[in-house]
Structures are given as C-alpha cells and as structure tokens.
C-alpha cells in the first residue's frame, strides 16, 4: 500500500518536546512536505528547545537559531545568499511560534512579505507564550486563561486576525493547517514549496500544558478546532480564497472548549458568544 504522505522522516527521535506537543507533530508533517533540501530558521520559541541543545539536532535539515524578532529577516538573508551562490533549489522556512509572529517579529515578516522575499513562513500557533510558561500573546483567544490573564474570564481581547494581516500583504500563498489533517497539511507544504515568493502557512498547534488538557487529546483537539469552525482550513492563491473543508454541519464549539482547562472559567454567556462568533464568520464564508 502506498502511503498518502511521504514516508521519509526528517524529524528525528530524541527531540525535547513535551508529551503530546502539537508543534512537534506539525514539524514532522511540514518537513515531509518540504523534503531534505530545506533550511530552517527558528526564532526564540518552543522549538528553540525542541530542536535539542548544541551540538545535537532533532531535525535532519540545517537549522539556524535566530533572535526573537529576527526570524523572517534572517531567513531573507539565508535565501538571498543561496541565490547569490547559484542555489535556487533549497527552500528556506521560518518556523516560528505565535509570539514572534503576532507580536515581536511582526515587523520583520511584514518587511519580508512587502519585499516579496522568496521564503516560506510557518507559524505554529499554540495561542500564547508557551515556552516562557504560558503568558498571553496576540494570538490568545478571548476568555482563555494564561499566567498573565489569570482571572475569570481570562483574556479580554480577541486574538489578532493573522490571516487578514498576512493577506493584506498579498502573499504568493497563504494557507491554514493543523496536524489532525495530515494529508491536507503535507499537501500545503508541498504546494508552498513549488510557489515562488512570500508564502505563509498558519498552523494551529495544540499545547497540552498551555491549554491544560490530557496529552493524548492533541490530535482530537486539532480535529475539533476544524470541525467546530473555530479554525477553518483554507488557502489563498492569487487573492482567491478556497475553503478546504466544509463540514455539512458544524459541531458545537463546546466540544472543543470543554476538554481544555484554560476555558474552565468561561461563563455560559461567553460560551454562547464564541458559538455566535463562529457561526457569523461561517455564514460570511459560506455566502
């Protein structure tokens, strides 16, 4: 039987992730999509640790660590130098968390997108500063508990709409992905690899300690995020949006919220508001 995704494993055993880490499964699929002719640039984020301490590495491709706000610019330099040396084939991918993408490194990737740099920017979004111990980021959902939004009802503000921010730059390619839909995810990284210019993939990456759920539930939460309409899977090419998964009927958001301790203190009103938000957005998309 032919596997539906490449069998080659570029994620090595011995990585230093937490049990059930979504960002590690995500890297595995991303690298299956990109293949070995890839250079990774990783700013300060969970993957700074997961990659392994020097001189060991948990990935089978070169990896350059960069300062927190510097990933997209560092990747720009890697790519420009490769092109100058005549290597037009090697793919350069930023692999950054939501903190560096939504907050501290936003300017650098905005600049790279504006210049049309030929790099792939992947944000594995676990919806808070998890590596530093769960502080609120620009990606944290409304109502979620973090160490810096400790009181009920948690974070007061909705997350930034990163898809809208990226798309305002008119990138060559934009897509969302999450590890539960592995074939969809691998296909998107394969597709991104073949496109020239600035590409961005937003990966929802469940985090057991940060979201406070059983590590065995990572894939199921990743799936529920899509099935409830919380995290729609779509891609944008030539500024045309295509929804990749259109469930006949959305599951109630409660199925996604209930297993997570970070939403424990949500009031019934807040839960209804989240459901309504999702439905409103879904109707706009379905139209």
């Amino acid at each position: 039987m032919k596997p539906s995704i490449p069998a080659e494993e570029l994620l090595r055993p011995g990585h230093q992730a937490c049990q059930g880490c979504g960002a590690t499964i995500a890297m595995r699929y991303a690298l299956k999509g990109l293949g070995p002719k890839t250079i990774l640039v990783v700013p300060a984020c969970c993957w700074t640790v997961i990659a392994g301490s020097a001189p060991r590495s948990s990935v089978g491709v070169p990896l350059l660590h960069s300062p927190f706000a510097a990933a997209a610019a560092t990747a720009t330099g890697v790519k420009q130098a490769l092109v100058q040396k005549g290597d037009l084939e090697t793919q350069v991918m930023v692999w950054a968390g939501d903190g560096s993408t939504y907050d501290i490194g936003l300017q650098a990737w905005s600049g790279a997108a504006d210049r049309g740099e030929d790099i792939l920017y992947a944000c594995y979004d676990n919806e808070a500063y998890m590596n530093t111990g769960i502080q609120r980021s620009g990606a944290t959902p409304r109502g979620a508990w973090t160490m810096t939004t400790p009181d009920a009802p948690g974070s007061q503000r909705p997350p930034k709409d990163i898809g809208a921010i990226v798309r305002a730059h008119r990138p060559a390619y934009f897509a969302t992905a999450t590890p539960a839909f592995s074939e969809d995810m691998v296909r998107k990284f394969q597709k991104a690899r073949a496109i020239k210019g600035f590409r961005f993939i937003h990966v929802l990456s469940p985090c057991p300690p940060g979201w406070k759920y059983d590590p065995g539930e990572t894939v199921s939460l990743s799936r529920l995020a899509v099935q409830t309409g919380i995290f729609p899977l779509y891609e944008v090419e030539d500024e045309r949006l295509r929804l990749n998964m259109r469930p006949a009927k959305l599951k109630p958001v409660e199925e996604f919220l209930a297993p997570q301790g970070r939403f424990k203190k949500l009031t019934p009103d807040q839960r209804r508001a989240i459901q309504q938000d999702v439905e409103r957005r879904w109707e706009a998309w379905a139209a």
Partner: protein
C-alpha cells in the same frame, strides 16, 4: 584612480571592491549616501552582490546573520539610533563568529534629537565582540573596509569601520580608489567554515550549557586578541601593495613630546595641525590617534609613548557618572603608571573641535592644570 568622494561613497565603494555577496541596510542620516550608492551600483551592475533595503536596522543585521551563515560575504552601514537598534544582533553575530563588516557613521543619540558626530554610539557597543576601527580620512575608510574583511575572515569576528558623521561622511576628499584587480589581490575570496548546507545538516546557535558557553566566550577573547597581530599585518601588507596604510595607532611627533593629545577619528588629523603649530612655537607637542579600539592596542599604545609624557585624552564621548570612554580605556591600559593623564570631554553632539581649540586643550594639559580623575568638560569659547 583618484576620485573626489564623500566618506559615505568611499564606504560603499569599499564594499563593492570587496565583492560583497549580500548587503542589507536601512537609511539613517548621516549614513544614507552609502546605501544609495550601493543601490545605484547594484542597479548598474557595478555591484554584483544582492542588495536588500531592509525594514529596520534590526532586520538589516538579521539578514546578514542569515546570509553569513550560508557563507556569504556581507556588508551594512548605519549610524546612531540604527546602531542602537541593532544592538541585540551585534552580540548575536559576534557570538555566531560571523565576519560581517559594517560601516558606522558616528552621530549623537537622542533625546534630544541631534544629527551630528559623537562617538558615544559606537563606543557603547564596546562589549558586543565587534572589532572597531576609527578612521581619520575618507581614504582610510575605503582602505579599512578592505582590511576589515581580511582580518574579520581570518579571526572569524565581525568588524565595525567607524567614521565621523558629516565631518567625514559628507566631506568630499580626494580618494585613491584601487582597481578591482588590486583589491582582489589584497583580499582573497571568503572561504567560510561550518555553514548551513542541506547536504550536511547542522544546527547553529542552539542552546549551550554553562561550560560550553564559557569556553566559546573565551575563544572569542582569544581570537579578538589574535586580531591585533592580524590588523597590524593587514596594515603592513596594504602598505606594501598600495603605498599607504596604518597600524593600530598613529603617533605623530611623539618621540620627545612633553604632552601628547590623544584622539580617535577625524579629530586625529586636526590634532596633527595643532601639534605642528605648537611645535612652531617651540613647544614639545605630539599627538596620537587610536585607529583601533577593539581589540584594544595596549602594547602598541605603550610602545609609542615617551616614559614621562603627559597625555591629554580628548573624548567625543561620555559615560555619565564616569568619564570620556577613551579616557577610561587608556587609563586602564596604562595602569600602573605615574604618568599624568588628563581627560577632556569636547564636541559632543557635533561641536567643532578646531586647531585653536585643541591648542587650548594642549596648553591646559601641558601646564598640569587638569585634575587627574575628573574629566574636564570643555567648550570652545570662540
């Protein structure tokens, strides 16, 4: 070929002659013409590397971090706030042992806003692990860019080539621009070690434990000290090939001097004029210019100072609560010493340091009026 150039153009031509692979920069007064000329040379095909106009200085230096990590020869230029904004990356690039070369145009830091020359910007990057060269002429800027690449690539540390804002950056001077062949003969192509290559995957910059970190830092210091010899050798070879060049320090009429003006940057050439005029009056004046600040040229400095000569260190920089920055460094380098060393803080924020002003300072120091541990803040009354 002799051309009449501003310092900023000399800097950009130096980078082009060095066959830089990737240049990235962000505009800031008074550095802008070096960025514009590189963009123009790239558009005309006279600069064969890639030029990226970055979204900030932080990004510009990050671009060079990435480019140098795959083996590119890299260049940027900046000034003042731009340099301060890069600060994080300066540490990173030095720690990563990447031979980036940067031209830095001295300008005062705000608040309040000020556009003019002041060495506090570059001197506050003292501990980042970058070599620092201070230039007195536009010729020296171009020549030092070529020498800086040679030294940086041999010791695997980055280098900053510093020139005064406006005084040098915008002043037109005759500059002998080497041919490409002559520049190539002096500066061989970069042979990078340990680079990122998918055929041989390695990880760079990953987490290290205290023991490894300590040893890596110690190696930086070792190689920084080794750079003293490499800088002197590059200066000698440059002298042999081009008939001009300088070493770690430039001493002028110091042999029998009673009092020596110590400076860095363009003031160094003004100081020579001041010394000539004082000598014409029969006074035993000399001057000494530090061309290299990091690594600090302790031995070279000691070697050209007569045993009892007084020093008058003129600083266009200040560390609040302490003193002028060269003053501190020179006192530390000469310790223990019974020599009188006086510090003068002058020309912060671009105040002119003229021949007459330097003569006043020299006379004050020569008369022994300066208080040793208390730097004098001096203004030109004229």
């Amino acid at each position: 070929m002799k051309k009449v150039l501003m310092g900023n153009h000399a800097a950009a031509l130096g980078a082009a002659l060095a066959r830089v692979d990737v240049a990235a920069a962000y505009p800031i007064t008074p550095q802008t013409q070096s960025v514009e000329l590189l963009a123009e040379l790239a558009a005309k095909g006279d600069f064969k590397g890639r030029f990226v106009l970055a979204d900030s200085e932080h990004s510009a230096m990050s671009i060079l971090l990435g480019a140098a990590s795959v083996g590119a020869r890299t260049f940027t230029s900046t000034s003042s706030h731009g340099l301060a904004y890069m600060h994080e990356l300066l540490h990173w690039v030095a720690g990563a042992r990447l031979p980036v070369v940067m031209v830095e145009v001295n300008r005062a830091l705000a608040a309040p806003w000020n556009l003019w020359t002041d060495q506090t910007d570059s001197l506050s990057q003292r501990d980042t692990g970058w070599m620092q060269f201070y230039c007195a002429t536009s010729q020296e800027v171009l020549d030092t860019v070529l020498q800086a690449y040679r030294v940086a690539e041999r010791v695997r540390l980055p280098a900053m080539v510093v020139l005064d804002g406006f005084t040098l950056s915008h002043t037109y001077e005759p500059v002998d621009v080497p041919s490409q062949a002559a520049a190539d003969a002096f500066l061989p192509p970069y042979q990078p070690p340990d680079i990122l290559d998918p055929a041989r995957p390695i990880s760079l910059g990953g987490l290290t434990m205290p023991k490894e970190y300590f040893r890596l830092r110690r190696r930086i210091d070792h190689d920084m000290r080794r750079a003293l010899g490499e800088i002197a050798a590059a200066g000698r070879d440059f002298q042999t090939q081009f008939g001009r060049g300088c070493g770690l320090v430039e001493d002028y009429r110091c042999e029998d001097a009673a009092t020596i003006l110590v400076t860095a940057g363009a003031v160094g050439s003004t100081a020579q004029e001041a010394v000539d005029s004082l000598r014409a009056e029969g006074l035993r004046a000399g001057c000494l210019r530090l061309r290299v600040f990091r690594p600090f040229p302790t031995q070279a400095l000691r070697a050209c100072l007569p045993p009892r000569a007084r020093l008058a260190v003129v600083d266009r920089s200040y560390s609040p609560g302490a003193s002028g920055i060269f003053f501190q460094e020179i006192k530390a380098a000469l310790y223990p010493s019974r020599r009188e060393i006086a510090g003068y803080v002058a020309g912060l924020g671009g105040g002119d340091i003229t021949v007459e002003f330097l003569r006043d300072i020299w006379r004050d120091a020569d008369a022994g009026r300066a208080v040793a541990d208390d730097p004098a803040w001096v203004e030109d009354a004229r």
